[in-house]
């Protein structure tokens, strides 16, 4: 059994060496060559496949169409990140001894979920702003400043008046609520 396996491996190795030479073109003048130990039938099959299994090429139209599509995809990959994405989150009024770092897991809303102590400590702190991206254009700066002013004047969630206002609003019929900004 082991002998058979070794013999098969040896035959396979000889075939492989023959194919290396055949495909490298070393046997073009003498296909078949001097490989007395190689199975003649396998050698003939190899010669035949070398001659008949040709590489096929797609149409020129397909080649250029795909090239164009790849170029478009490449251009999209080269484009800078979306407007605003390059901004960073900073604290408008940071806590003493605290910096609101975007990379800090404690500032990640997902990471801080379920940690009320930390949330309460930040409740009265300034709200984070996105700067550098959205506020760089003049038009957006005006809109951004108005938005910040509105957000600053808006009661926080924990405020009793805000809770009361939400309860009253929720009690009103939906038809009367339409078009009213919260």
């Amino acid at each position: 059994m082991t002998f058979d396996r070794d013999a098969a491996s040896t035959d396979a190795l000889l075939t492989d060496l023959y194919l290396d030479a055949l495909l490298a073109g070393a046997l073009l003048d003498d296909p078949g060559g001097d490989s007395p130990r190689l199975d003649p039938a396998a050698r003939r099959a190899a010669d035949r496949l070398r001659r008949d299994l040709v590489r096929v090429h797609p149409s020129f139209r397909f080649e250029e169409r795909l090239a164009t599509r790849l170029a478009e995809a490449a251009v999209a990959m080269r484009m800078p990140v979306a407007a605003g994405a390059e901004g960073r989150v900073v604290a408008l009024r940071p806590l003493p001894g605290d910096t609101l770092d975007r990379d800090d897991p404690a500032t990640d809303p997902v990471e801080t979920a379920g940690r009320p102590g930390l949330d309460a400590a930040r409740r009265n702190a300034g709200r984070p702003l996105l700067i550098g991206g959205a506020l760089t254009s003049a038009a957006l700066s005006i809109a951004g400043a108005a938005y910040v002013a509105w957000r600053r004047g808006r009661p926080l969630r924990g405020d009793p008046m805000a809770r009361a206002a939400r309860v009253v609003r929720a009690a009103r019929p939906a038809s009367r609520r339409s078009g009213v900004l919260d």
């Binding site: 098969a8 491996s9 035959d11 396979a12 190795l13 075939t15 492989d16 194919l19 290396d20 495909l23 490298a24 073109g25 070393a26 199975d39 039938a41 396998a42 003939r44 099959a45 190899a46 035949r48 496949l49 070398r50 001659r51 008949d52 299994l53 040709v54 590489r55 096929v56 090429h57 797609p58 397909f62 080649e63 795909l66 090239a67 599509r69 790849l70 170029a71 995809a73 490449a74 251009v75 990959m77 080269r78």
Partner: protein, 214 residues
């Protein structure tokens, strides 16, 4: 059709042993390394890799699927996926691969192989055409029909098409894409010894098939 010998190191170049570089590490063996690095820096440079390997990937898909349109579809998916994933490509050339080997090519053909598999699965899942038409699409004899004027090529392909999956793939990669045993092993996820045996047995099967037709 003239046989284009693309991207294969031959003779002494192929036989040369890998050189260690100054740092004692094995020198990179990927002949596409410069092109890959350029494309990783600037995706537009991927075009050079695309032009180099288009015919090889297309041929592989064509011999696997037996239909030009489906081969084009798979080729397109392969190159788009390769471009999108090029940043994650990790070169792992081995000395055993030889200097003519290209790990990028192995990686690309792994993508092509997966694309062909996905395409086959999708074809089975969305078989909306009548059975006769679907059978016509799937039948590798379509290749044979296109080569009807060339009896020899047709007979050779018919013999290869009858081989089981991995043997057929190994033969196509060896003869059509002219890959080394190490590269085929990388594409098929097998050892080099296993690939040698696959090819040896495949050749004997082809020999029997061609002999029986005489």
């Amino acid at each position: 059709m003239a046989r284009a010998v693309l991207g294969r190191a031959t003779g002494p170049e192929r036989a040369a042993s890998p050189r260690p570089d100054r740092g004692g590490r094995v020198a990179h063996l990927d002949r596409d390394r410069a092109l890959v690095e350029a494309a990783q820096r600037d995706p537009l440079q991927f075009d050079a890799l695309y032009r180099r390997y288009l015919a090889q990937v297309y041929s592989y898909a064509y011999y696997e699927l037996g239909d030009h349109h489906e081969a084009e579809d798979v080729t397109e998916r392969t190159f788009l996926a390769a471009l999108a994933g090029l940043g994650r490509f990790d070169e792992r050339a081995r000395p055993a691969d030889g200097e003519g080997a290209s790990t990028f090519r192995v990686w690309l053909f792994q993508i092509a192989r997966n694309s062909v598999s996905n395409h086959r699965r999708g074809r089975r899942r969305h078989a909306e055409e009548p059975l006769e038409a679907a059978a016509g699409v799937a039948d590798p004899l379509d290749v044979e029909a296109r080569a009807a004027t060339r009896d020899d090529a047709s007979a050779a392909w018919r013999a290869v098409a009858k081989l089981p999956g991995d043997r057929r793939r190994a033969i196509v990669l060896r003869f059509v894409d002219e890959m080394s045993t190490a590269e085929i092993a990388g594409v098929l996820g097998k050892t080099e010894g296993a690939v040698r045996v696959l090819i040896h047995r495949a050749l004997r099967s082809v020999a029997c098939e061609l002999g029986a037709r005489r």
